[in-house]
């Protein structure tokens, strides 16, 4: 049985490898000059005063795709919440606080605000310099978990009312939708970036609706990651099975 499976894998893998190599040899060469979509995307981004072209593609030219990405994230978090809920045959046992060496504890408490501010900075400058809602949101959410790493789980639970994060997750997705619908009400296409003035190139308020959509994504990602990690942490640290069941 196992030998048969390995043989099947070897044959399939060899076939796939041959096809992939043939495809690679026929792809346009690495580092070529011909990028028609890229050139047009850069022009469109500059016409709308967005300095970071990737943000412009994500939140302006392909904003509808980002809505899909957001709903995937939202649905995945929902799935994790359902899968990792406390079952009937389980109970919660608050963990004993861990002994953390003092320098580590101090470092965690010192870096936590720095990392939060960095996350906000990355979100806020999404339309100018590299960064954006997703990156900044993950950084801010990870920063919060320094409390678990550097102190103990109880400290994290005190600053993390889960309901607030679940609500803000949903609110952020709704905000994105409302911004899209606003442009429909104004008489253009869904999520078309024509409602707001484009502003001065390379300032925080440039790019029309891009900064707003960016902020909505940042809020969604940050709260989604917090909710996700909360359920994993609950499972790993607090929830225990009843013995003898």
């Amino acid at each position: 049985m196992n030998r048969l499976r390995l043989w099947l894998l070897a044959v399939g893998g060899a076939g796939l490898a041959a096809l992939l190599v043939a495809a690679c040899l026929d792809l346009p060469g690495f580092g070529g000059r011909h990028h028609p979509y890229g050139d047009r995307a850069v022009q469109a981004s500059l016409a709308r005063h967005t300095a970071n072209t990737i943000s412009s593609v994500n939140f302006d030219q392909r904003a509808y795709d980002t809505l899909g990405e957001m709903s995937i994230l939202f649905a995945a978090v929902l799935g994790c919440v359902v899968l990792l809920r406390q079952a009937r045959d389980e109970h919660r046992a608050p963990p004993e606080p861990a002994e953390v060496a003092r320098p580590v504890r101090r470092y965690a408490l010192l870096v936590l605000p720095v990392a939060l501010v960095t996350g906000l900075y990355v979100v806020a400058h999404g339309q100018l310099s590299p960064g954006g809602g997703f990156q900044g949101g993950v950084v801010a959410a990870t920063a919060l978990h320094l409390l678990y790493l550097g102190a103990d789980y109880g400290a994290l639970e005190r600053v993390r009312p889960l309901g607030v994060y679940e609500t803000s997750d949903a609110v952020a997705v709704c905000a994105y939708l409302v911004l899209g619908l606003a442009s429909v009400l104004a008489g253009t296409a869904f999520l078309a970036n024509t409602l707001l003035p484009y502003g001065t190139f390379n300032t925080l308020s440039s790019g029309g609706a891009v900064p707003l959509l960016n902020a909505a994504v940042g809020m969604e990602v940050a709260s989604a990651v917090v909710v996700l990690l909360a359920h994993f942490l609950d499972q790993a640290v607090e929830i225990e099975e009843e013995h003898g069941s």
């Binding site: 970071n52 990737i54 943000s55 990355v122 590299p130 960064g131 954006g132 997703f134 990156q135 993950v138 950084v139 990870t142 978990h145 990651v225 996700l228 990690l229 994993f232 942490l233 499972q235 790993a236 225990e240 099975e241 013995h243 003898g244």
Partner: protein
């Protein structure tokens, strides 16, 4: 010069992907995956994609290892409590 840098980083990516698959223990694999995540961020910088590098860094260096390690801890703890109950 730029080409040499790209080749060096690409070969490292290939090597660490092999290593990540070859580590059969999830906790050890998480260590290699965290290395791979950071290395990919460097590759994306070299390929002039700082935005992508940032998100790879955010996800790969701390978030994915944390998720895997929490999962490993839960499974280990289950095994331990099962043995205690027996």
């Amino acid at each position: 010069m730029a080409d040499a840098l790209i080749v060096v980083v690409l070969l490292l990516v290939a090597a660490s992907a092999t290593a990540a698959v070859a580590q059969r223990d999830p906790a050890r694999q998480a260590l290699v995956l965290s290395f791979l995540g950071t290395l990919l961020a460097a590759l994306f910088t070299v390929l002039q994609a700082p935005d992508v590098g940032l998100s790879q860094l955010a996800v790969g260096s701390a978030l994915t290892p944390l998720l895997i390690m929490l999962c490993v801890r839960k499974i280990r703890r289950r095994g331990r409590s099962k043995e205690d109950a027996r």
